[in-house]
Amino acid sequence: MITAVELGLIYAIMALGVYLTFRILDFPDLTVDGSFTTGAGTAAILIVNGTNPVLATICAFFAGAAAGVITGLLHTKGNIDGLLAGILTMIGLYSINLRIMGKANVPLLGEDTVLSPLRDNGLLGSWVSIGVLFVGCLVAVAFIVWFLHTDVGMAMRATGDNPEMIRSFGVSTDNQKILGLALSNGLVALSGAVIAQFQGYADIGMGIGLILIGLASVIVGQAIFSQRWIWLAALAVVFGAVIYRVVIQFALGAGLEVNDMKLISAVLVVLALILPQLKFFKKLGSRIQITSRFGGSSAIDETSESQQEAKQNA
């Protein structure tokens, strides 16, 4: 179970990237399936060739960001539909990833990685490593929350919410989208780089179907936590990623038929999409808001809340 939490925390970085595009920019970005492997491959090949693992992991971030920029350019300057732009970049990345890695599977067994300090001291699979990884996630969350409260970040949120309005203020929505996609795919690639170092190899197929895990993490997390504040929403994504992994692990541990695994993943995502529509969870969401009202919530919140309550009483 501890490994599941560890994996969940590493995948949470990827899920935070998906959160940026999916929730903030309102952009369905499928680049993720490719850029995750780009990050893993970049880090792996650099480490194998003797680069410092920390530096290799940072390079992986920028490789992923470059992939995001390509999707952004295709969409904004090339006027290609967002979904299609992501798919095109993802497909193109398959070949680029093979070029980067030189072959389909780069083993990292026995190499020095960013996780070596933990692994060498036998701390992987313990609460210490969970703590370290959680702190890593908190740093990423703090970075995103800080960024989204800067002027640029505010403009990015507005781009996702109401592009017409933000354009009327003279802000380039194109640049916002490109920046958002770069940041998002950078985080995804960072996650891929750490996963490769965690599992001991980078593989050309490791990103396949990843977008589903990312969306599931965002949706599961936000089904349980409120979405009203950026920091809570971002933190919810982290917990969502962990919950997703733990549920999969639980299903495995319970001795479920192996062939049911894909069905379980699908059921989990369906549940995460349906549950928030239920009364109980809506109530739970508003309760969190009530308890935090002392923090200062706007009059709009209160009216929408009272409307909701009135609806429920009716």
Binding site: I2, T3, K103, N105, I213, R245, L256, V258, I264, I274
Partner: protein, 335 residues
């Protein structure tokens, strides 16, 4: 409101289905009441994906253990269905359980994840094409750590010799392989080395998806085809067979199953026997031998598979001695 109820019902049903199937799965007897050594043995099996050859390895392994007197072994069988995150989670779970006597990893990614996660438990791998390239072992002779096992390296030389037996005039051999599979790249390298010795030339084309197999095969002007154990190519084998049929050239595959589907012949690995051989290594480890000094083993015997229907289509006669030698003769091609 009605809608919400319906959702609640659906969610409830789904949840109870999950719980029920969870209960159903755990019926497996967990009370291994003692192996040959008189104590409970627990073996974790991580099989990367469901696939006839890999299934055969797992079955062969269990049969081999039973034959060696380990009848009440508790098997913790896991299968990530090719999902790499789950693969890593399974390896981590094996490490966290801490009560495994041995871990069996079937196929390369499972072996890599197990080797990374498990340092105290002996790890046996099977169906790994090139354990050195995958960095699982230092060398085939002296693995050097807690990881060793069996490789499913094809007898490429013998297989290419079959081409010369059926088509003595053949000079060039075409290989279509997927650039996304490490094991295929290795096999192309082996094929080139073997071809050089046999006086053949290899012409290869890489593909990135199963849908490209037919086109890639058509682009090669060769006297014969060799099909490595490449998942993409084997899954689209019919496309290649069609092209070979049009060109009237023989197709030699690397696995017996492809012969059943219409390739001419091969000297193939029997994966069940590979599993049994792995079990014999497991027994030695359970009896105290150190995996670090146990050389990686290859299957000591291969079997000849021949498809006489495919030969007939090419107007070839299968030599009687090959027919006598064959373990399997397919007289019709299964569609």
């Amino acid at each position: 409101m009605k809608l919400a109820k319906a959702f609640q019902l659906t969610a409830g049903l789904a949840a109870s289905a999950l719980v029920l199937s969870a209960c159903g799965g755990s019926e497996e007897p967990a009370d291994g009441s003692g192996g040959a050594a008189g104590e409970e043995i627990k073996i974790g099996i991580n099989q990367f994906v469901t696939h006839p050859s890999l299934d055969a390895v797992a079955e062969g392994f269990k049969a081999g253990m039973e034959a060696a007197g380990y009848e009440d072994v508790e098997y913790d069988e896991q299968n990530p269905q090719a999902d790499q995150a789950t693969n890593t989670a399974i390896a981590g779970q094996f490490a966290a359980d801490g009560d495994l006597d041995l871990a069996l990893a079937i196929a390369t990614p499972s072996a890599q994840a197990s080797a990374q996660a498990l340092s105290d438990v002996p790890v046996l791998f099977s169906a790994v094409t090139d354990p050195v390239e995958a960095k699982l072992v230092d060398s085939l002779e002296a693995p050097g750590a807690n990881v060793t096992g069996t490789s499913d390296k094809n007898p490429v030389m013998e297989q290419l010799e079959l081409i010369q037996q059926f088509a003595p005039d053949a000079e060039s051999v075409g290989i279509v392989y997927s650039s996304g599979e490490v094991n295929s790249e290795v096999q192309v390298k082996w094929a080139k080395e073997a071809a050089e010795e046999l006086g053949l030339t290899i012409e290869e084309t890489a593909i990135s998806a199963a849908s490209e197999v037919q086109q890639a095969a058509a682009s090669l002007d060769v006297d014969a085809f060799y099909v490595p154990t490449d998942n993409q190519v084997v899954s689209a084998l019919e496309g290649l067979l069609q092209v070979a049929g049009d060109k009237e050239v023989p197709v030699i595959s690397a696995d017996g199953e492809s012969v059943k589907r219409g390739a001419l012949a091969t000297y193939g690995i029997n994966y069940e026997k590979l599993g049994e051989q792995t079990a014999q290594m497991a027994v030695r480890i359970l009896e105290g031998e150190d995996p670090a000094t146990m050389p990686v083993e290859e299957l000591s015997e291969v079997e000849l598979y021949v498809n006489t229907a495919a030969a007939e289509n090419l107007g070839l006669e299968v030599p009687q001695e090959l027919l006598d030698e064959a373990a399997e003769v397919y007289e019709a091609t299964e569609e």
